[in-house]
Structures are given as C-alpha cells and as structure tokens.
Symmetry: D2
Subunit: 328 residues, 4 copies
C-alpha cells in the first residue's frame, strides 16, 4: 500500500483523491492545502490527515506526492518532493517559464525520483487506442493529424491572467497529444489566433480561438483547432489520416437517447467538461502511476514531455506575433 | 427500344413514367387513364400518346404494360394484357381477393407472359445488400428478422375503405420482405393489432398499429412492427440477426447537417415517404424489368410472390380475430 | 453511516460491494457466503467482517442486507431479514415460484421493512431518461414499445437448468421494463420462441430465442425481442413510439474510435455484458437504496414489481405452450 | 425550351448532359468535342446534333453553352460565347492565369451575358443548408470554419502537370466554399503543404497534402485540410462553429447497411467520388442555371467568384513558398 500526500484540495485534487482512495494499492494519506476548510472536507471523506507542506515532505510514511495545487507552486513542490525522495505526480504544467522548468527537471534528475506530468489525455482509452492501432500498422504511415479541442465556456478573466495564455494553458494538451500520436518531434510550427469569443480575454492580452499547424520530419502535418467556448460541451476529437486509412475519435456523448419528432431529431451533446469526459483517463493515469510507484515502468508522460509541450507553446506564441512559420 | 403503355397517371404512375423515360432501352409509348387531364399532362411531358385500354392492348407496338391504376382494376388489366401477349409490370396487389389472384395467375401462366409484381423494396439497394450478404455467409444462419415499417401519416378514411385493411395494404410489403430475406416459407403466423392512431380508422373497421410474428421451418422467427403514423417520416428499418452477427439497415436520412447547441444536438429525419425513400429502388426495379423484357431473366417478384404475401395478410387477419397462432 | 451485510460474494455481489464501499453513507460491514474463500477475499478488500447468516441477521449493527446469493435462497433470506427488521435489497427474482413470492411478500409487509428488488435497468440513466421524457409529454401518448435484449453468449447448461427458463431468468427484466415505461398493466400476452442458438438449451427443455407481444388497456402494444446469443456484445435497446414522436435508446458503445479503410469502415461494438453496460445503473440503484435507508422514499422497484414480472413470465410460458393470446 | 450546346463530352460533360436532358425546360441541342467518337455517343443518347465550335457559336438556335472541355480552352470559349450573346455555364476554372481570367471577365461584362462558373458545391443541398441556417441566425456569428476535402486517390501525373497544382486545381473549391459560407473576403492567408502521398507528384513540383488557414475581417478563421488520397472515398466535410453552436456536415454514405460481428462493427464508406457525392448538387446547379436562362436571377457562382478563388490559390502558393502569412 502506497501512502500519498495530496497537494491541493480543489476540483482536480478531488478527482485524484477519489482515484487514490479507490485503488487497492494506494491510500490518501494526507491532504495539504493552505485553504484549511477544503482540505478538511476532503481529508475527512477519505480518512486522511491534514499536513503542512513541510510535514508531508518530511514524513517517511509518504511514498508519493500528487501536486494539484496552483500552477505557480508546481516547480517548487516538485523540487522539495524530489529532494525528499518522493515519487511525484504533478498536474501540468511544471511551470509557465521554460527556464524554470529546465532547472526543476535537472533537480528531479539529480534526485533520481520518478516524475509523471499529468497529461491526462495520453491515458484516455480512446486516444491510446488510436496510438495502439497506429503502432499495429492499421493505417500505415501517419500523414495528417487533426485535433479539435474546445472548452464548453471561457474561464473568468482572473484565471486568464494567471494562465500563461491560451497556448500554455489549453493548447499545451494538444501539443503533447500531437507529439504522443506522431511519435516524432515537429520541425516547424505556425499559429494563427483571434479574440472573438470574449472581449475581456482580448483586453487581458490573450486570444480565445486558435489554429496551429505543425510539420514533422516525415512530411506529416498536424492541425490543432482550439476555442475557449464551444457552447455545446467539451469538444474533444481527433483524426489521424494515414497512408492506409483514417482513425477518428468522436466525442463521447452524455447519453444515448434520441428523439424523432415532426421537424427534427434531437440527440445528446458531448460530455460537459474534462471531469466527465476524462473520468476513465484519470483512473487509468492513476493506475499507471501505481505501476511507476511499484518500479515497474517509467512515467509515460515525463518531465521532458512537459518541457517540450511548453516549448511548443512558446514557439506558437512567437509565430502568432511574427506571422511566420517558426523552424524548431 | 421497348414501348411501354402506362395504366394510371397518378403519383406512382408518374414515378414509373420518369424511370421509363430515363432508361435508354424503354420509351413511354402511351398513357391510359380515365382521368384524361392527368393522362394528358403526363403524356405531353414525355412525348407519349393517349390511348384507351382497348387501343393499348390491341396495339402491336406496345411491348409491355405498366399497371399503376386503381387496385380493383389490376387483375382485369393483367388478364387483358396477358391475352394480348404483353410483358406485365403490375403494382401490388394483384387483387385483394386471394381466389381472384389465383385465377388471374392461371391466365398469366397459360399465356406465358412474364408478370412482375411491384414489390419495390426487393430492389432497394439496402435490402438487396442484406440479402446478398446473407447469401455470402456473412452472418451465418438467420435466426431473427425484425422489420419496422411506419408510414409518416395515416391516409384518409376513404382510402382505408378500399385498401383491404392494414395487412393487405401496408404489411403486405413486409410479408414479402420477410419471405425474400428468409428464403423459406413461414410455418405459422400471429398478429396483434390496435386502433390507437386515428379513431376514424377504427370506425372503418381497421387497425392502424400492428405486430406480426412468424415462425419458419428452421426455427427462425420474424417480427413486423407497423404503424400508420410515425410523425417523423417514413420509418423503414430492418435487422437480421444470424448465428454469426447482425445486419442492420438504418433509415436513409433526408440530409447530413447536424446542429449542436446549448441544450441538444439536432439532426435529420428519415426521408419523408416512399417516393423519396425508394427512389433508387424504383429505378432498379425498372432496370430489372428491362432485363425481363429482354428475356434475360424471370421477374424477381413474381405473381406467386404476390399471391403468397396476400395469403399471409389473410392469415394475419384470421389470427388477429382468433387470438391464436395460425399454422400455415 | 449504514452498515450493510452482503449475502453472496460472486460476480454481482462484487459489483454491489464496490458501490456500497464507494458511497459516503454506506459501509460494507460483513460478507456472508458459504464459499468462505470468496467471502474472505471480498471482505479483506473493503475491511469487512465475515459473518454467518444467523450472525448477520442477529447483529444490531446491520442496518440493511444486500441479497446477491443463489436464486433459491432469496425468499428465505428476505423473510429472515424482514423478521430481523433489516432494510432489504434483493437481486431479482424473489423466487421462481409465484406462490412462494406471494407468501414472502406477505411476510415483508407484516414486518414493515422496505424491500427493493434489483431490477437494475430501471435505474439506468438511459431508460430513466426515456421515462422522464415520456412523463414530460415529449412524445404524447405511448403507442408502441419495442425492447431488444440479447445476451452476448448463452450461459452453460447447468445454469439453464436452475434458471427457471428464458422468460423467468432473462425476459423478466424486459417485463419489468415494459411495466415501468408504460405505466399500466398489460391486459394480454403472447409469446413465441425457438431453440436455435444452442441445441443443449433445447435438450434442457428451454428456448433461447423469443418474441413476446403484450397489449395494454390504452391499446398500446409492447414487443420484446430476446436471444441468448448476440455474438456482438450485450444488445440492450429500447424504442418508445408515441403519438408525437419516437424515443430511441441505442446501445452504449465500448469505445469511440472509428476506422475508415479501402473497403469498409469499422467501429465499436456495444459494451460487452451487464457489468460494463449497467455500471452506472448499479451505482444509481445503490444511491436510490440509500435514500430508502434514510426513509426518504419507497423502493422504485418493489416486491410487487418482482411478483408482477414473474407472473408475466409464467403467462408467457403458458402462451408459448398453448399458441394463444393469454388474457391477463 | 432552351437549347444548349455542350462543349466537352468527357466525364463531367456526361453528367451535365443527363441533367440538361432531364430538365423539362432544356434540351441538349448539340455536342462539340474534337474527339468525335465520344461526342457521337453522347449526342445519339439524347438526340442531339454534332457541331463544330464555330457552328455552335453562330447557331441562333443555341441559347446557352455549357463548357466542360479542357481547362486551357475555357477562357477562349467563354469569350467566343459572350461575343455570340450566349448564356454561359463554364466548369471551373476560367483559366489558370489570373490576368487571363480578368481579361476574359472584362469581355463577358462588355457583352452583358450571364456567366456561371461551376462551383458545384455551392449548390449541394448540405452546404446550402448550412448557409441558410447561418443566415437564419441558427449559430449566431461565425467564428471558425473547418473544411475537410480529400480525393479518394491521386490523379495520374500527366493530369498533375496541367492542373495548375493542388491549390488551383483542388483547393480552389474550398476557397470558394469558404468565401460562400463566411460571406466576407479573407484578409490573410497561410498555407503549409507536403508531398507525402505520391512521390511522382513531388517530382512534378506539386504537393499532395495541404493545410490552409485564412483570417477574416470579423476575426473568424477558416481552415482547409486537403489530401490527394483518402483511401476511403471522397471525404467532403464541413464544420462551422459560431457564437451559438456548431453546424456539421458529415459525409454522405454509400449505403446504410451495418454489420455487427464478434470483433467489430462494419459500416459504409463515404460516396466514392464527385459524380456520386455531388449528384444532387449538379442537378440543383443546372436548375439554378435554368433560372438564370429565364432571366430570373444572376448566377450564384459568378466569374468574379472564379477570379477570387484563383487569387486565393495564387496567394496560398506564395505563402507556401515564403513560410509567412500573406496579407490580402
């Protein structure tokens, strides 16, 4: 049984807490959150302790940490945990500054602890099925990847202000997905964007709608289509076109009841947001981390993956500003 | 080039007229209809003559007749045409009285002319694909056939009065489809029905909603689900469950535009009625009849098929009245 | 926190154990199973005790029992639990003999304890959505209900021998669903069946393929289509056709990855069997039982529902043997 | 009745010939093609004459011309027809050289004859439904348009050599569709491309896979995804995401028969190529041109539309070569 200290008792922390508790080999040992009330509720639910950061890091009973706190605390907590010899599961991103990420990863490497960066979509049964079918040769050589990723509704502007911007906050998942699926590093990137959904986002200096085009050494290309607002749920689709066919991941729908009436048929919408859509992915991600804890494998989404995705986000921003293709 | 005399210039006659004219080997030679105005319009459109029944039958230029007139004229016209040596395409049914059908078919046999009874659905590309896949062994031995057939809206009561009732008018297509797909004759039949759609239909002594269950020598069963009113278009589906899988014909949809909004997605309805849904079937049916005219093959839907479907309709009615399974 | 004693540590007992443990208001208190090894594994997993039947019934800490043991023990255990004042959740059926069911329910009534019979499909989000939409007037008056229910593969014959036969074992869920959706009791029933899937089932005196037709006071009809073997997963569909439209529940699919190649597209199959397909239903069922435990409501699937479904199964068998419609 | 002279008896000419003949107000009057044998076959089929180009242009009986000959003859034929006072239907493109297009359109304008450029997709019932729903306010303001357009298989290299390249030959349809749907002119364009499908295409100096990104004055963006080879049929999809929802045009499928077996379900592929997929569009396009002939309206796809689409193709090529966004 592995004891886990959870940093952050918010929305995403609660998802992980449930998966930690449900897994037969892990226990939610402690909750660390400066917002004591939320920490207390979560801790009580699963019979966990409240700890301070220092207590958790120093506690020899803690086998691993799950960092789901505010973004700007990630790198510091990773370094503390690494020095304390804990296995680390950290929500993306490691940090919004690439140099800081690299420093942090150097520390992790020196301490020889495993670090899993929470690119949850890699563990989604749909996307990992695409990867497996590609590797099995089902569609030959990949030629064109199209990722559609739209949030149901834009976040509040105070979130935008600390998010690092669309590319570092939202597209970062798609950058990682493109690298994961294609299995090679892009050689160029181009980004175009717009502020058309919510004027307040533009006032904050960010865009809310974007298209990214990447080219890979094989000549294959990837397109990412993003919006901060779908209006119809969490739009999470992927198409991989290869030399021998197409693999297509449709949205997972909220139900399966269809109505046929005088004028139209009506059907379900996609699952509302990440909590619903990636429920299975979060559970599979935790299952994988338990295998990492057991020492059976290295994290499928590493610190290096986190660094590369952030690098692509930075370069996308550079392309957006210059209007040119950036060679990588 | 085969010259065709068309009996009946109504809705179904007009469909056939267009197919006759569009086929490179057939010409709409003449139109016969006591309602001269409708006949004239149709004849002008395709450069055809107006003829009386006697003229058409006696005209040596007429190679074949297409009978799309009122149901109660079918058997008489078939006999006249058979005696005149014409190839015959007759809309279903031959007659509503089984004894009359048998007499008529005896005449046809004696005259040695081909007779195609217009069970249009046999020629539908969807249903004939199911038949072909079954024959190719795709699903092994058939075990359970389910036919859903609902009209968009009930006909006027004066139509009901001359229709022969739901089983002889509407289900007759499904009886033929069941025999066509299963490739064996049912050994028993059961019918249950209801008047729930339109009280006027009940007042006319008919039902508007029905379920029929047939059993076949192999042990396979077929279920037919009928209604005079869908409310959402022409509901024409079929499922054939076999020892090695399922073949499923979904409705053909009126378009392919889907909307996703805040509360629901919206999509197309099935094609509205038989003219739209079976457009390809009518064209293929005519193409097959041209092959019959050329002497290349016998009709895939024969007079005997017409007789058997009517027989099943009669026995379904007997079951409805007795509440028992009728052995055939 | 309610303490639950679980009778039966088999496949279905394990599903319930997980739901009991995951619910914040219930605890898996004890496991009762003559097969001690299985009981031990399950008890260890959730920190529960092993108890004998007598111990559990006598234990004042036990608030409710969940009976998931062999079918022939259900009625006896229900009566013991009722006399011990426990709230009762019992897997269907109460018993295979209708008279025994009625005796048992009399005892339950006398003891004034709640009894929920585990018709899990009533709690399925898809089917309960249909019921809710019907009650909200979405499709007007119900006219025709079609339930398709096919297991992925036939059970072993030794299961068939103790199952009570297809109608009492498998169709019983569909009888309950028909009553649940229609909201009225059928006035007649007809059944037709066949042994075509597995000869061993026929040798055991049972059928493996069936069609049932029921008529309701309103004139509406219901059709149930059953097979012991789909070959493509758990086929669980429902269509409710009303005076103002159709509600259609499609299968829940095992994934959402589609392949398009040179000759065909390929897609997912339905979820494999009840454990996957009704995962959400089992969780919702338990949530409902917790509300019953809290005294907030009566069970939505009662002992009477269990009795009525068994009655319909018995009458279906009578119809199968007589070949006639049975008035109810 | 309008008499039409058809220039070009090839594949696309044959489609138009059938539509001309089937329309009650138009007659295929003559066929003009230097390849006399093909012209003769087509003329015989519809009872048309063979004419030389000069004869057709001089013939006062010819009301309109349909130009479906080789691309490099279009502009010359348009000018001849314009000077002869004929209404003109010309397949895209007018010419591959933009200056030549402009000269040609000047001549047409001077002669005051109508010119319809055959952007067939504008007349497709699916895409015109999207346009109509957008205009009706169904999805609010357009924000992101995604067009997927993949041919089933690459053309032979000798076709590539005279095609003008991917953008002018294939993407030109998508440029027109983007302008048609968005209802505004793009302000910038970016293109990325690859030769990955067929090395011979690269040897010919062309690409076979491309992604184009355009931005519009409103801030909306459009993405075009092209490939010369799908491998699974003619992939013709469109998504228009607006401030109040999404409109999505799926592929039209070749049939509606689905198979469910032990390991997978199988379904239809998209219609094979443009002849099948745009059958309804070609008929609607002709119907519209008849309204133009009647003087009821101007062409919905004009010479100017042809010019603008070619201009975008040229600018896409400039972007591909420079790696930068081109301001328009």
């Amino acid at each position: 049984m592995f004891n886990i200290a959870l940093f952050g008792a918010g929305r995403i922390g609660q998802i992980h807490a449930a998966n930690i508790a449900a897994h037969p080999e892990t226990r939610l040992y402690s909750v660390v959150d400066p917002y004591q009330q939320g920490a207390q509720v979560l801790a009580s639910r699963y019979g966990a302790e409240l700890q301070s950061c220092a207590e958790a890091m120093a506690d020899p009973n803690v086998d691993g940490v799950l960092i789901a706190s505010a973004t700007d605390t990630h790198a510091d907590l990773i370094e503390l945990a690494a020095k304390a010899g804990k296995a680390i599961f950290c929500e993306k991103p490691v940090h919004l500054d690439l140099a800081r990420v690299r420093d942090c990863l150097t520390t992790v490497a020196a301490c020889q602890v495993p670090l899993l960066v929470g690119f949850n979509r890699r563990y989604d049964p749909q996307f990992s099925r695409v990867k497996a079918l590609l590797l099995a040769g089902k569609i030959g050589k990949p030629e064109s990847l199209v990722i559609t990723s739209r949030d149901p509704a834009p976040p509040p502007v105070n979130y935008i202000n600390v998010s690092g911007g669309l590319f570092r906050d939202m597209t970062i998942h798609d950058f990682d997905m493109a690298r994961f699926i294609m299995g090679e590093e892009p050689t160029s990137i181009y980004a175009q964007g717009s502020n058309i959904v919510d004027a307040a986002i533009g006032d904050a200096g960010d865009i809310d709608t974007a298209i990214v085009v990447m080219k890979f050494p094989s000549g294959a290309m990837a397109t990412i289509i993003n919006s901060r607002r779908s209006g119809y749920g969490y739009d999470q689709r992927l198409e991989l076109h290869g030399s021998h066919g197409l693999l297509k991941v449709d949205n997972i729908l909220a139900h399966q009841v269809h109505y046929y009436g005088n004028d139209t048929s009506q059907g379900p919408l996609p699952e509302h947001f990440f909590i619903q859509r990636y429920q299975a992915a979060y559970a599979a991600e935790w299952q994988h981390f338990v295998a990492v804890l057991r020492g059976e494998c290295a994290p499928q989404s590493s610190g290096y993956d986190g660094e590369r995705a952030l690098y692509l986000a930075d370069q996308a921003l550079a392309s957006l500003h210059s209007g040119t293709t950036i060679a990588l």
